[in-house]
Amino acid sequence: MKRRPLNKLLVANRGEIALRIIRSARLLGIATVAVYSEADADAAHVAAADQARLIGPPEASESYLNIAAIIEAARATDADAIHPGYGFLSERPEFARAVGEAGMVFVGPPAEVMAALGDKVAARRLAADAGVPVVPGLETVDDRTAEQFAARVGFPLMVKAAAGGGGRGMRLVEAQAGLAEALAAASREAKAAFGDGRVFLEKYLAHPRHIEVQILADQHGVVVALGERDCSIQRRHQKIIEESPAPGLDDSLRGRMVEAALKVARVAGYRNAGTMEFLVDGGEFYFLEANTRLQVEHPVTEMRYGCDLVAEQLRVAMGERVSEPAAPRGVAIECRIYAEDAEHNFRPATGDALYLNLPAGPGVRIDTHLVTGARVTAFYDGLLGKLICWGADREQARGRMVAALGEFSLLGVTNTAAFLREVIASEAFGDARLSTRFLEEFFPRWSPDGEALECLLVAAAIAAGGGLGAAQSASSRGALSGGSATGHGRRSPWGELTGFEPWGRGER
């Protein structure tokens, strides 16, 4: 078994996860290279890395999905490894292969394992062959077989992309009438997002919980599980709240799921960090898919196990052994804050971060690339940051989360923080009435309460009126004033002030 120390790591991603990876690499003494698109020249990950390379125009297909440009950036900077993060190229076997062929280490599973597991249809077969239960499904779909399958298992059905992930290329079909259109739309979306339009059908379980098991495996044949995460609370089939342990999960069921996850990982010859996702419905569990990469919600596991999953990934990539996990402690909850309007069907929002207040306190962690002045564009995923709270028990973690979300404030980009705070504070969440239908059931429609709206309107009246007191003295930069828009259409809160002047003005 080769051991190969890494000297320089190229991070083929952006946003909070690029920062997260740079941090762990630095702790291990590995130099870092950031890559960025023209839209990200000012981004936090570019500033954080030891080196940075421009890889293309804003469109992801021309930059963060551009394998040739990324490999070239790695060559030009003498990087000996590439970490793909999540999303973008993280689950593309051809990328892992290209990295290997360029003589570098891909921080993730081998390309052929990724191909076998990353393809949802192939992964279903692999799990079923290993004796792990899977959701009833149809793997080779055309309009005729789809109709027959629907007649056999009944509606609703879920259309999924074979190459899918992150909720993309998924369509729920309630009745025969929408089936053909859903198949076509999901296929189109999958083709655009993943370059692979294959779709398959699964029976849609009514009230399942989404529970997943974190796996770490090395090249020495050691495979360990680091507990589970409940990721049931989703919108558009994409997780927004995750927690560990899964509340109220029966110990024997948990044990069987962990065993199943380890089995799939072993049969597949898995290596590095990965996640086996399951649906749990009425005391039964079904293998859903494998995520052959670091997950967005990995901090939940890190908080409970006191581990650093990115560092573990890098150690595995260097040929080291996975360490035996410590006993987990307490409860961790994560909330994903998105640039979306929760009041209007989670419509994507964009804008510039003009004012930002980030929470802190015992058991509070925030993974974010947001800084004052950061620009949120429509080019990339709208994840602004992840707030993770740890507590000795679920109530403490929940209380800390409510408080931390209350401290979070971001001006300039409509976001989901206030919505998440209400969800976490709700009785339904307190009672852990979790299912993937949680939001439709308990928050089918949400809008801020009247008092919150009143505060917004007070702020709007002040801002529209030109700020607070236009005649403030020059020495008080901190005061609220009106002013004119700058060339970029950017504006500081209320006008000119704020600390958004790189070097200050020398007074104080």
């Binding site: 419509r347 300039g412 980009v413 008092e451 917004l456 030109g466 828009a485």
Partner: protein, 186 residues
């Protein structure tokens, strides 16, 4: 001043009536402000903070707020709640010939994936008009009432900003009930 949030039919009438400071040289001192919201007067105190935010005290609660006027909107944050308002100034709510909306604007920034109609084409309520893609999610915009497609302002593949005009509709040729033009407001 009338304010409206994107995608929200409600309009709010808000006026800043007065703000009083005890001391002109102390910009950080709390000041009393009076505001009307939909005609109802609200009294609050506002204390500017050195980081550019302000603490608003309203009905016994203290909330950190921040706000800024952008070129075409006002962005505000009150605690974790952030929103964007557009100023509805002198814009009439006139709806031509009973059309629910005579124009179709982009509800979010993104890419025009498909234009499903052509100029001159009649559409029925619920007909898909255009497909947008933002953050890799497809969103289809539908006709809100029967109409004729008068003008298509974008083409497939084009990136559009939030609020960009996509399609203009004109009423179908049935005689519409004559309407009083609604009063202009400023």
């Amino acid at each position: 001043m009338k304010l409206k949030r994107q995608g929200d039919a409600r309009e709010f009438e808000v006026e800043l009536l007065a703000q009083n400071r005890q001391n002109d040289t102390d910009a950080g001192a709390p000041r009393a402000i009076r505001i009307t919201i939909d005609g109802r007067e609200v009294a609050a105190t506002v204390a500017p903070m050195p980081d550019g935010s302000a603490i608003v005290e309203l009905g016994g609660r203290r909330v950190r707020v921040a706000g800024a006027r952008l070129r075409s909107s006002i962005v505000v944050a009150a605690g974790p709640l952030a929103a964007e308002f557009v100023v509805v100034e002198g814009r009439t709510a006139h709806r031509a010939g009973g059309l629910a909306a005579p124009e179709v604007d982009a509800p979010m920034p993104g890419k025009v994936l498909k234009v499903l109609v052509s100029e001159g084409q009649p559409v029925e309520h619920g007909d898909p008009l255009i497909v947008l893609e933002a953050m890799k999610m497809e969103t289809t915009l539908y006709a809100e009432s029967p109409a004729i497609v008068a003008k298509i302002c974008v083409e497939a593949g084009q990136m559009v900003d939030h609020g960009a005009r996509l399609i203009e509709l004109s009423p179908v040729a049935t005689p519409a009930r004559p309407r009083e033009p609604p009063p202009q407001d400023d």
